[in-house]
């Protein structure tokens, strides 16, 4: 068995320590080691965006980050969004707009939308569509997703 490294990182505001092999992606660490299964494995090569998380404030595909690279960094995942008794406004907007069908792409879309609204609270539809181009929805609910993000921006 391959040697494991000890990694300390911050996930959704909490300090987390884990052991992982160099070859494990951040996505594998989140899902298999930390049991945070919100980020999904779609293509595992950076095309689909189902594994989108926010790393030190930037949107990334967690399948294209090594777990060991997150030492000392801060990771935000879908699990950190809602408060105990209240959904995040983006989550609310996705529900209100029925912006999901099977749901596999949804955590990625929501994290991507959060990264957008964190830096641009009032994006145009055009900006939203370009920003979300790296997130694929095979149920093809893009219009509702874009409307949900517009609504979430307006609700803030």
């Amino acid at each position: 068995m391959a040697r494991k490294s000890h990694v300390q990182t911050t996930i959704n505001g909490e300090t987390v320590e884990f052991l992982c092999e160099s070859r494990q992606s951040l996505l594998e660490v989140l899902r298999d080691e930390l049991h945070l299964t919100g980020a999904k494995e779609g293509c595992n090569n950076g095309n689909c965006g189902a594994c989108s998380v926010i790393l030190d404030g930037r949107l990334v595909n967690s399948c294209l980050v090594l777990g060991v690279e997150t030492e000392g960094k801060s990771v935000e995942t879908i699990e950190g969004l809602a408060e105990p008794d209240k959904l995040h406004p983006i989550q609310d907007a996705f529900l209100e707009n029925a912006a999901l069908q099977c749901g596999i792409c949804t955590p990625g879309f929501i994290m991507s939308a959060k990264a957008l609204l964190d830096q641009n609270p009032n994006p145009t539809e055009h900006e939203i569509r370009y920003w979300l181009a790296g997130n694929l929805c095979r149920c093809t609910g893009y219009d509702k997703i874009v409307r949900a993000v517009l609504d979430a921006a307006a609700a803030k």
């Binding site: 391959a2 040697r3 490294s5 092999e21 160099s22 070859r23 992606s25 595992n44 090569n45 950076g46 095309n47 965006g49 989108s52 790393l55 930037r58 949107l59 990334v60 595909n61 399948c63 294209l64 980050v65 090594l66 060991v68 690279e69 991507s112 990264a115 957008l116 370009y130 920003w131 979300l132 181009a133 790296g134 997130n135």
Partner: protein
């Protein structure tokens, strides 16, 4: 994914020593958007991944209107288009950084990595060539500089000797009345690999009517990105006109030696070289004329 060791290098010399020692089994890790996929898909045998992102020199992003741009090898795409002065000075390079992958890729992928991956279709390489960029390379025998157009030697192949790594790219300050443009043809709106890419940089005279000099580079039509030297040279001293631009486009077409594959046929690609070269030249000229 195959097992490998992950090492963080904190200095250029540390990284070079490791690369020299481990040879072909070692690979530099910057954004990882190409490398991690290649290792996962068993397209590259890597036993040592050397993460250079802690090395100060590879993170430099410094623009000076007199001396130009120093772009560290690991600087991510999004940092480049966030700087207004860089967008004004090197719009052709910014065009490329905005169309590589989507937001999440641009948050990790580096221009230096795009170059070192040496894909014939890499979007950053034609603009680097037309902007006269040079590679600052560190190796066991010291540092050297190499023009970007001499860096790629084949698909995925580079001019690196054993133990060498890219530290940064240097781009000269833009001349007065100059601009650049990059575009590619893809069948989709976003998130695709170039069927053909074309970059151009143009310098006009003060009246913005005559071409002082131009550089044209092509992607995805040969085993490496190409500098269209003759097409570039024939524009020098010419008045801006459709005829001059058509001539350059034809000269660019004459050096294209594309393959037919799933993205397009050789015939289509050759045709596209003409179209995109004209658009890249006209785009750069328009930008010069639009500038105050």
């Amino acid at each position: 994914m195959r097992d490998f060791a992950y090492i963080t290098a904190n200095t250029v010399s540390e990284a070079v020593t490791l690369l020299d020692e481990k040879g072909q089994s070692a690979r530099i890790l910057a954004g990882g958007t190409d490398l991690i996929v290649q290792v996962r898909e068993a397209r590259r045998d890597v036993d040592w991944m050397i993460d250079i992102k802690s090395i100060p020199e590879v993170n430099v992003l410094d623009y000076n209107a007199d001396t130009g741009l120093t772009l560290g090898a690991a600087v991510e795409c999004y940092k480049i288009y966030a700087v207004d002065e860089i967008c004004d000075a090197y719009p052709g390079l910014v065009d490329a950084t905005k169309i590589i992958g989507g937001t999440a890729i641009q948050g990790r992928a580096a221009v230096g990595g795009n170059l070192c991956n040496a894909s014939p279709a890499a979007d950053c390489i034609p603009p680097l060539i037309v902007l006269n960029a040079s590679c600052v390379i560190a190796g066991p025998n010291g540092a050297r500089e190499l023009p970007v157009e001499q860096f790629c030697t084949g698909p995925g192949q580079t001019a690196f000797d054993n133990g060498e790594m890219l530290v940064s790219l240097k781009i000269p300050a833009p001349a007065n009345n100059s601009s650049s443009f990059y575009l590619r043809f893809i069948p989709r709106n976003e998130m695709d690999i170039a069927v053909v890419g074309a970059g151009a940089s143009v310098t006009l005279d003060d009246a913005k009517q005559t071409i002082v000099s131009a550089r044209i580079a092509l992607g995805a039509v040969a085993p490496t990105p190409l500098f269209a030297e003759e097409a570039s040279a024939l524009l020098a001293g010419r008045e801006v006109s459709d005829a001059a631009i058509d001539e350059a486009a034809q000269a660019a077409q004459s050096i294209a030696r594309p393959i037919s594959d799933m993205r397009g046929t050789a015939e289509q690609r050759t045709h596209l070289v003409g179209v995109l070269t004209r658009r890249a030249l006209n785009g750069a000229i328009q930008r010069i004329r639009d500038a105050a």
